[in-house]
């Protein structure tokens, strides 16, 4: 749609758009939304800052009521094993989400509750966005809002697997911090999450406080290794404290 927001990718990343286009064009494919590091990078770049991501594509989708699930559909259509799923030469991670009800959530652990709530909410709130590189045709795909990305990232940061904690903690910390730093200066990011599903704001606040404010010097040091801009301890405190307070207001 011509009124959709436009995000420009750097020259040379046409292959990513080709992969997104291939996913969207897969016959029978259900709706998807872009989340993960690529979505973080798009939002950070839209705010005028630099950020680094890998070229994986992380997508959320709605779980189907009857097989095949989206991942099997894509695997079959693009001649790839389901894990790791490759579409047009790009690795695609696909997360199926379900509508949630308080009664079903009660049976889940804190980690699983945040995963289910945040990813479904990121899917539902995603905004159709035109992605383009200079001189190439655009592709329109729903991209999770900043609030949706932060919610989903909170799960990755707060409840990582051992492998993820060892290899991706700095990048996960940085993703969350950069978005909070750029988009919560007026409290609007916290307000958007507060307006989300019940308990989401409290859960995101707990993760942000535990991972970034309990030892902000350690967090700043870890993030500095992955950041394209320096990060001070004070900057972490200045950005995250009001964000957590806003989530708990």
């Amino acid at each position: 749609m011509s009124g959709d927001p436009v995000m420009i990718l750097p020259h040379g990343s046409e292959f990513l758009l080709d992969a997104v286009r291939a996913v969207l064009a897969t016959p029978g494919m259900s709706d998807v939304a872009l989340v993960g590091g690529l979505a973080v990078t798009l939002h950070v770049a839209a705010a005028g800052d630099d950020h680094r991501a890998t070229t994986d594509i992380d997508l959320v989708t709605a779980s189907t009521t009857s097989p095949p699930e989206a991942v099997e559909l894509l695997a079959a259509a693009h001649g790839s094993p389901p894990h790791p799923l490759q579409v047009a030469g790009v690795r695609v991670d696909l997360i199926s989400t379900h509508p949630f009800a308080a009664t079903t959530l009660d049976t889940l652990s804190d980690a699983d509750q945040l995963f289910a709530i945040s990813h479904r909410w990121a899917f539902e709130q995603a905004v159709p966005t035109q992605l383009a590189t200079r001189g190439s045709p655009v592709v329109t795909v729903p991209v999770a809002t900043v609030a949706g990305v932060v919610a989903a990232k909170s799960h990755a940061l707060g409840y990582p697997t051992a492998v993820r904690r060892a290899t991706k903690r700095a990048a996960d910390l940085l993703d969350l911090f950069r978005l909070v730093d750029l988009y919560d200066r007026d409290g609007s990011l916290a307000a958007a999450i507060v307006a989300g599903p019940d308990e989401l704001a409290r859960r995101v606040a707990t993760v942000a406080e535990t991972e970034l404010l309990t030892n902000p010097a350690l967090a700043a040091h870890a993030m500095a290794l992955a950041s394209l801009a320096p990060i001070s301890t004070d900057a972490v405190i200045d950005a995250v404290e009001p964000f957590v307070a806003g989530l708990r207001a």
Binding site: L16, D50, T55, A170, A224, L228, A229, P230
Partner: protein, 388 residues
């Protein structure tokens, strides 16, 4: 940038003679094709340090000499550069420079050498030796005038943190790669992994002595990073170089250079001439690295401190919160002499990119996504060998 900080003591004695002197022996690095640049860098560093200390002044007054002021006393000194100076080296220098005042600028000077020079100064008031040990001491001596500045860290370390896991270059006393010769030789092998360059060739290309590069090559062999046939052991050598891949200076600037400005600053030339080149994620993307980078602020490598200073003046020093580009001094001259036209244009388009090996060394500084990207990067251009 470049502030000389953590000054722990300054001693000034003003009852000095005012004769000063000019002239003196010629540059001690005459055999090196890059000696003038090395001398430029040494004078640049010493000038910066002195500028940050009240009561001391140091200004260039000739091709290889500076005027030093300590309080009311002023004298001219010939500048001599060394990577490292031992007591034996100090004796040799004194023999080679039988008269006049000298300032030694070295990455490290041993305690014995300093004691020897201080003792010599006491016994020979007319032949005074000052020194800048870039690990932490500037000692200026002339007659009764003494200016001593102690501090921790490398001479031109920025007190502000740097992005992307970068640390500024500092002298290294352990490990397989301990100085510019080691970095230069290691990089030369990585650039040409199937046809190892000779020590003489590397020495010429990086402007260092045959002996220094030979010593560096022996150390790499001792650590098993160079195989018996002279070729590099990869990826181990790449990892060893990545650990010490630190620019001497990194500065955010407020404007991106135009072609005209770059040409005026001597940045543009044939790819194998010294010059500027583009690093960073967009350059790596152009060479096929699976990196997605938001933002477009270029990271520009320049060959030396003097080039960086000129660029900073022309492009205006900014802050990390407000900058349009980054100017960084390359850890080795080989960055500037191995520039490559990229397969796809990378802004600013009039500059070539750094060689993919250097782009890979940049990504290696980021232990998370940078490493992940590196693991998935298979250069598509057949003339380059993947060494990571």
């Amino acid at each position: 940038m470049g502030a000389y900080h953590e000054v722990s003591s300054v001693r000034l004695l003003s009852d000095i003679d005012h004769t000063g002197r000019t002239g003196g022996p010629m540059n001690d690095q005459a055999t090196s094709t890059r000696a003038p640049r090395r001398l430029d860098d040494a004078i640049e560093v010493a000038t910066q340090i002195a500028a940050a200390v009240r009561g001391i002044d140091l200004r260039r007054d000739g091709a290889d000499s500076v005027t030093i002021r300590v309080g009311p006393s002023a004298w001219s000194a010939t500048v001599v550069t060394r990577d490292a100076l031992s007591i034996g080296g100090a004796r040799t220098l004194i023999d080679r420079h039988p008269s006049g005042a000298c300032l030694i600028v070295a990455h490290q000077i041993s305690a014995d050498a300093k004691d020897f020079l201080a003792d010599h100064n006491e016994r020979h008031p007319g032949r005074q030796w000052s020194w800048l040990d870039q690990r932490g001491e500037l000692a200026l001596h002339h007659g009764a005038a003494i200016g001593v500045v102690d501090r921790a860290g490398p001479a031109h370390r920025d007190p502000a943190p740097l992005p992307g896991g970068w640390r500024l270059a500092a002298p290294i006393s352990g490990g397989p790669i301990r100085g510019r010769a080691g970095i230069g030789y290691g990089v030369a092998l990585l650039l040409s992994p199937t046809r190892a360059p000779s020590i003489r060739e590397v020495a010429r290309r990086i402007g260092m002595s045959h002996g220094a590069v030979g010593t560096a090559s022996l150390l790499l062999r001792e650590y098993g990073l160079v195989r018996s046939d002279g070729r590099p052991q990869v990826p181990e050598l790449f990892e060893a170089v990545a650990k010490v891949w630190q620019p001497p200076r990194v500065t955010p600037v407020r404007t991106v250079p135009s072609a005209a400005v770059a040409a005026r600053l001597g940045a543009i030339g044939a790819a194998d001439d010294d010059g500027w080149c583009i690093g960073g994620d967009n350059a790596a993307l152009a060479w096929g690295a699976p990196v997605m980078s938001g933002g477009s602020r270029p990271w520009i490598w320049v060959p030396d401190l003097a080039s960086a200073r000129r660029a900073e003046r022309a492009l205006v020093v900014g802050s990390w919160d407000d900058h349009a580009a980054v100017i960084a001094v390359a850890p080795t001259p080989l960055v500037g002499t191995n520039r490559c036209p990229p397969p796809r244009p990378v802004p600013p388009e009039f500059l070539p990119t750094a060689h993919p090996v250097f782009l890979a060394l940049e990504l290696a500084q980021d232990p998370t996504r940078g490493r992940e990207i590196l693991a998935g990067w298979q250069p598509v251009e057949t003339e380059f060998t993947r060494v990571w």
